[in-house]
């Protein structure tokens, strides 16, 4: 247990420290003209690349239209590459075309920064598809999230939102690209492959044949982790020894999951000019996430009960679905981090976690804001803040305000629509698939755990996460279409609504904060926000959790 605590503190503490300078850099990169900063000179270059539209300031509607148009181009490009991969270069293992519904699901998944995978990369994807379609979207879809957060922050600071096309290039070229290169080099040094040679057929010492798939893994995995994407180069993701070969590659990848989402909070604070407020938000997020980490590490230190009646030594916790080289607590820690952010990569099989451990990632996806996806996590938190200050204002009979902006019925309606749509997609989807052969015929485990597999899949799609209880046989037309649609709606609704709120707020006159204003920089606000998150976010899903992991724990664990 000492090692577990030491390891968790090392990862979280180290990343939190690194997020501070990174947040400062990101504020400079994403918002060069902001307040006191000087333009960084790249803006002109990005305007030249983007063309004439990029020179105008955009209102929230123009910003959203540009964002949707850009995503349409991303979708068409990726779909075309996957459909035509057999005619394209870099295909040493002669992969064939991807089936239509799987292509739709995969394209939706990577456009939506989800990376839910109903395929195994080493089985169906050519190297060209992996890099030019999937890895490319891992850069630009994450950049879209950062752009939205930058626009939202500017709006809250009382300034124009900026230009989407410039923002998305700033995020891609100034934030993600250099970070990805640095991490990719670290991954090479810790043992990841990066080759364009095809698979190798080996003959073992016992004379058995083994085909070894490989590829340009290091470049892919780096941005997969940094951009809260999570889609693995290989089917079993970062459990695969070529995707995550050593203890230290695991440390680099674990830190990469959470560092940009953490830095997003500091970037937000810098752009709105309220670092104390950002520190309060950071603390609330850290507490919510830390609670789940403690739960997961604790629950997972219990050995698997499947071996209880056999002569097996069990003193190191549940090892099914885990790799030895990462150490005992690396699996549950990663499971929580990857679902706290919308990353969705795995270094242990979540389906084989103890039932209550498996609930921790689900709770993370249900809340989806601490720290959440790149950019969009902080945007989700903004929805909770709007609801939180509204409730607080009502309780004490004052006009609810956030940073001097008067929050009224319209803004709260938008925020609640955003938050409730999350529960709607997860619970309605789970109900339909649990009641029909669409879901019931695809399960790998029986009873409550089978229900958990369906619940997890819809939670993952709606949270734009991408991890799964991977036993689920999810490459069917029904799963591909249903989760594809959920991913797209769940991506764009919580991006459009907050920008609409900003549009609505900035049409009002901003009040100056006085001693009568509710502070957003103290413990009362932190408590209020935490309560809002738990009541609105978690309790919505409590009945579903009771049917899945809790039922499994109570009825089947001895």
């Amino acid at each position: 247990m000492t090692q577990a605590i030491l390891f968790v503190c090392f990862i979280l503490g180290g990343t939190a420290l690194l997020s501070w300078p990174l947040g400062r850099y990101m504020a400079w990169a994403m918002d060069p003209a902001g307040g006191q900063g000087k333009p960084n000179g790249f803006t002109a270059l990005f305007q030249a690349i983007g063309g004439s539209v990029t020179r105008q300031e955009q209102g929230w509607k123009r910003y959203v239209v540009s964002l949707l148009g850009f995503n349409l181009v991303l979708f068409v490009t990726c779909f075309a590459i996957l459909a035509l991969q057999q005619y394209l270069p870099l295909n040493p293992d002669a992969k064939t075309a991807i089936e239509g519904s799987l292509n739709f699901n995969t394209t939706a998944s990577f456009v939506a920064n989800t990376n839910l995978q109903h395929y195994s990369g080493e089985v169906v994807m050519s190297y060209f598809s992996q890099l030019a379609a999937l890895m490319w979207l891992q850069f630009v879809s994450a950049a879209v999230g950062l752009a939205v957060l930058a626009a939202l922050s500017r709006g809250l600071a009382g300034r124009a939102l900026g230009n989407f096309f410039v923002d998305v290039q700033r995020a891609t070229f100034l934030v993600l690209l250099p970070a990805a290169f640095i991490v990719a080099v670290l991954l090479l040094l810790t043992g990841l492959p990066m080759t364009f040679h095809g698979s190798v057929v080996a003959t073992t010492l016992e004379g058995i044949q083994q085909t070894i798939a490989r590829g340009p893994v290091a470049a892919f995995v780096s941005i997969k982790q940094l951009g809260t994407n999570g889609g693995g180069f290989f089917g079993p993701n970062s459990t695969h020894p070529l995707e995550n070969p050593s203890f230290w590659s695991n440390v680099v990848q674990t830190i990469s999951i959470i560092i940009i989402p953490m830095a997003c909070v500091w970037m937000f604070g810098r752009i709105i000019g309220r670092m104390k407020h950002a520190a309060v938000l950071f603390t609330v997020m850290l507490i919510l996430m830390g609670t789940r980490i403690a739960g997961a590490v604790g629950f997972e230190s219990v050995p698997t009960q499947a071996f209880n009646d056999l002569p097996i030594t069990q003193d190191v916790g549940n090892l099914e679905g885990k790799e030895l080289r990462f150490g005992a607590s690396a699996g549950p820690l990663w499971a929580v981090l990857t679902t706290s952010t919308s990353n969705g990569s795995v270094n242990a099989m979540h389906d084989s976690l103890n039932p209550l451990t498996g609930m921790m990632p689900m709770i993370g996806m249900w809340l989806n804001e601490d720290f959440g996806g790149v950019g969009v996590g902080m945007v989700n938190m903004f929805l909770y803040i709007i609801v939180g200050v509204f409730i607080a204002g009502m309780m004490i009979g004052r006009t609810p305000e956030y940073l001097g902006w008067r929050v009224e019925a319209k803004e709260v309606k938008f925020a609640m629509m955003g938050l409730l749509s999350h529960g709607f997609f997860i619970l309605v989807g789970t109900a339909i698939f649990a009641a029909t052969p669409w879901g019931a015929a695809t399960l790998n485990n029986i009873g409550p755990h089978g229900f958990s597999e369906i619940l997890y899949e819809f939670s993952s799609a709606a949270a734009n996460n991408g991890s799964g209880f991977e036993g689920l046989g999810d490459n069917t037309v029904a799963w591909n279409i249903a989760t594809g649609l959920v991913m797209l709606f769940a991506r764009f609704i919580p991006i459009i609504l907050p920008l609409a709120i900003i549009g609505s707020l900035s049409a009002k006159r901003r009040a100056t904060e006085s001693s009568g204003t509710l502070s957003v920089e103290d413990g009362t606000f932190a408590g209020m926000l935490t309560a809002t998150v738990i009541i609105v976010g978690a309790l919505t899903f409590f009945p579903a959790a009771t049917l899945g992991p809790i039922a499994e724990h109570v009825t089947l664990m001895k």
């Binding site: 090692q3 063309g51 148009g69 850009f70 181009v73 490009t77 089985v123 890099l131 890895m135 490319w136 850069f139 290039q169 891609t172 690209l177 290169f181 990719a184 080099v185 990841l192 492959p193 990066m194 080759t195 080996a202 073992t204 010492l205 085909t211 290091a218 470049a219 941005i223 079993p236 459990t239 695969h240 020894p241 203890f247 230290w248 050995p303 698997t304 499947a306 071996f307 056999l310 097996i312 030594t313 069990q314 190191v316 549940n318 099914e320 679905g321 885990k322 790799e323 030895l324 080289r325 150490g327 242990a348 084989s352 039932p355 485990n445 009873g447 991977e470 036993g471 499994e552 089947l556």
Partner: protein, 186 residues
């Protein structure tokens, strides 16, 4: 229309830099700095035939070799995966019972857990030092060599993967089997 044109221009720019230039740069660094692992640590005999990858587990069932952890995909290096079975599943118990039988484990000499638990990708190349020592008697008998020789090999090859964070030492199964057979590799 202007929106689409700008989107296309940015698509071209990001493709060129984030896919083309970035992949090429990472590839070049790998080739220059870590040429072996960049090609997936392939092990080749002196005569040029490929034995496997140092990073991936392979099936070993003969008594004279160290055996790896169980694999849910039969050590398929081109289609990896885990069992994805819940701890409450009886399938796991059945598979573990097979492992217990294969090793001849008893209550007095219980099996280390990882020899009964499949890894996430089914390709975990390592077992713990304890699980390697568990197999010494069988290997020594099959090869007709002193147990001490096998034990020395294990203690030479064992390492703590994460220093202070991982007190339990592990060993690479293929690495030890190559040493047992004294295979000449390139």
């Amino acid at each position: 229309m202007e929106t689409l044109i700008s989107s296309l221009r940015i698509t071209v720019a990001t493709m060129a830099i984030c896919v083309g230039a970035y992949s090429a740069a990472v590839w070049a660094v790998g080739r220059a700095v870590t040429p072996d692992t960049a090609e997936a640590s392939i092990i080749t005999r002196a005569d040029g035939t490929v034995i496997g990858s140092r990073q991936l587990a392979q099936a070993f069932t003969q008594p004279r070799y160290f055996w790896p952890r169980p694999s849910a995909v039969d050590y398929n290096g081109a289609g990896a995966g885990g069992s994805n079975k819940s701890p409450t599943s009886t399938d796991l118990t059945d598979r573990a019972a097979q492992a217990v039988a294969a090793y001849g484990a008893t209550v007095e000499n219980p099996l280390p857990a990882e020899l009964a638990a499949a890894s996430g990708a089914g390709l975990d190349p390592h077992i713990t030092e304890r699980a390697a020592l568990y197999q010494v008697a069988r290997i020594a008998q099959a090869r007709n060599i002193p147990a001490g020789q096998v034990e020395k090999l294990i203690s030479d090859k064992a390492f703590a993967p994460g220093g202070v964070f991982t007190p339990e030492r592990i060993v690479n199964v293929l690495d030890m089997n190559l040493a047992l057979d004294n295979v000449q590799i390139r």
